[in-house]
Symmetry: C2
Subunit: 338 residues, 2 copies
């Protein structure tokens, strides 16, 4: 298991260097504003008392499983959600016997926009204006303060794509997945364990789309059920309150709230990839267009190959794997004519 570097006293240059390394790192003791001090259940209840209903995940099992949907989406008044979400904590601690059906529910809010179908980009300023100013960004990150509205094509600062509020009960664990945008997860209340895997571990994580089928990374029989998992390069870190984790695009990550948890997740786009981003993406997890096209083409190839008897189908699948492996080794595809 690899450890994750913890850095303090960042400068813009140092931060850019680290981002360029394409490795996760923890930013410690940086000034992200008064949210670090103020935010807790009572404060947020007071500040967000407009009676709004928010869409939340509610499950009997804290290991949320998107693929098999072991949770429900519900709407709950914000303050009520906060209370229930926080209350789940104590009962979890009493239980801790894998007998989740007897527990109270586990709650998780991932803020979205006002669109009820979640088709709006989460934006703290727009959707939570009463608390948005509690968050500020250290200068070393180089966020453009015009946010996504910056119209200066020459502006070389980072432009925030989304600011996502994440609040969860203790124990809630979010499925291992990747996002296509670099992002910072600021842990404000409660400790959180984050496990990450580099992009090249895609082969070993039993993916369905952008999500791993391996739900319980702590299971004793993980390597028995998922034999390729042993090839993964696992990175693990426990975020303390006020720590911020840089999660590079395409890095798989799994978060587990060790306590009732409040955090903010800031995503930004890499301008050099602008023409490749899927413009319908509001979560920062839709595949880059050439990637999406590749996977769709591969699906068509496999459909076509399935016309062949299994022996021949499998042969060509193996051949394709060998072509892809060589591509990774920098050996470009070449097919000699006879």
């Amino acid at each position: 298991m690899s450890t994750i570097q913890i850095v303090t006293n960042l400068t813009k240059e140092k931060f850019n260097d680290l981002v360029g390394k394409d490795l996760p790192f923890v930013i410690r003791s940086a000034n992200f504003g008064r949210c670090l001090e103020f935010w807790n259940v009572e404060y947020l209840q007071t500040k967000i008392a407009d009676g709004r209903k928010v869409p939340i995940h509610v499950g009997k099992n804290p290991l949320l499983d998107f693929t098999n949907k072991n949770f429900q989406y519900k709407f709950e008044e914000f303050g009520t959600f906060l209370q229930k979400c926080f209350a789940a904590q104590s009962s979890n601690e009493l239980v801790n016997k894998n007998d989740y059906d007897d527990c109270s529910n586990y709650y998780y809010l991932r803020s979205i926009g006002d669109d009820k179908r979640g088709r709006e980009i989460a934006n703290l300023k727009k959707h939570y204006p009463s608390i948005a100013d509690d968050v500020s960004y250290p200068e070393f990150i180089g966020f453009c303060m015009n946010d996504s509205n910056c119209s200066d094509v020459e502006c070389d600062k980072r432009h925030i794509f989304s600011t996502v509020l994440r609040i969860s009960s203790s124990s809630v664990t979010i499925w291992t997945h990747y996002d296509v945008l670099d992002n910072i997860l600021l842990q404000i209340r409660g400790r959180k364990r984050v496990i990450l895997f580099p992009p090249n571990d895609a082969e070993f994580l039993y993916l369905k789309g952008d999500k791993s089928e391996i739900i319980d990374l702590d299971a004793d029989d993980i390597e028995k059920r998922f034999p390729l998992y042993r090839n993964c390069s696992k990175f693990e870190v426990i975020l303390e309150e006020r720590d911020a984790l840089f999660i590079p695009a395409m890095w798989f990550h799994n978060t587990k709230a060790l306590e009732f948890s409040i955090g903010i997740n800031m995503f930004w786009k890499d301008f050099s990839l602008n023409k490749f981003y899927d413009l319908t993406d509001v979560y920062g997890n839709k595949d880059l267009i050439p990637g999406k096209n590749s996977l769709n083409s591969l699906k068509r190839i496999l459909t076509d190959l399935n016309r062949l008897p299994k022996k021949y189908r499998n042969f060509y699948v193996h051949l394709m794997i060998s072509v892809l492996r060589r591509e990774l080794q920098g050996d470009s595809f070449m097919r000699n004519c006879q």
Copy 2:
């Protein structure tokens, strides 16, 4: 290393059973006609004395390397070729010190049709009528005696696609490759070592098209230069004179003449695959159409992915490998929408 079954006293049922197993096997003591007795340099020189020139491979190194073309194609009068091809034997035996540049040339004939560019299917009856009747086929193979001209759509016999005469100097080793048709290699004169690998070893054989880049399967440093090679399931057999080897379609094979060698190679099509064969194929080694299309599509995918920075390109290549692996495990491609 796996061994190859040697079978005698075959019946039609037993032969069909064995072919259905998709494993190579050696047919021993079967009646393939008087070629087994008569064929040698003198006999063939006498029988094929029409002064015809045949296209041959001539190399200084007995390990013929198609990809790097370490041999030349030349035309030689048939009898002259036979003499030179046979003569190479003695000098090789004297040398045997890997100092091939000092040796005489090594010769190899793979008969083709009359078309000088090799665009005709090899057919012993048509191109070597004076010796064709020396070869007969044991009934258990179930060849249709109308050959490829059989017009009876109900005929369920095997229809010979091509009959290829192979004559080579001692030591001549033919690059590891696959063919898309089941075939029998009848070894008439000289012993021959054949190494085979099952179709699923495609990933470990460093292919360029249908040919492996691993030229010397006896090299001491083979696993150093080709680390994946160690994953191969190697099958090896030494064919004695009069042995015939069944080589299943898609099985990789490499032949090494241990002595001056004369053989006949009979290919046939699997009727159930008729709609998938490339009709321009005269050698029996052009990919099945869905396979060819897959590889071409994959080439286009990779071109498109190369627009992305390497990190993202490699990520999607890994993702594609993971999709293909799951396909092999019978888990069909499924992409969940978010």
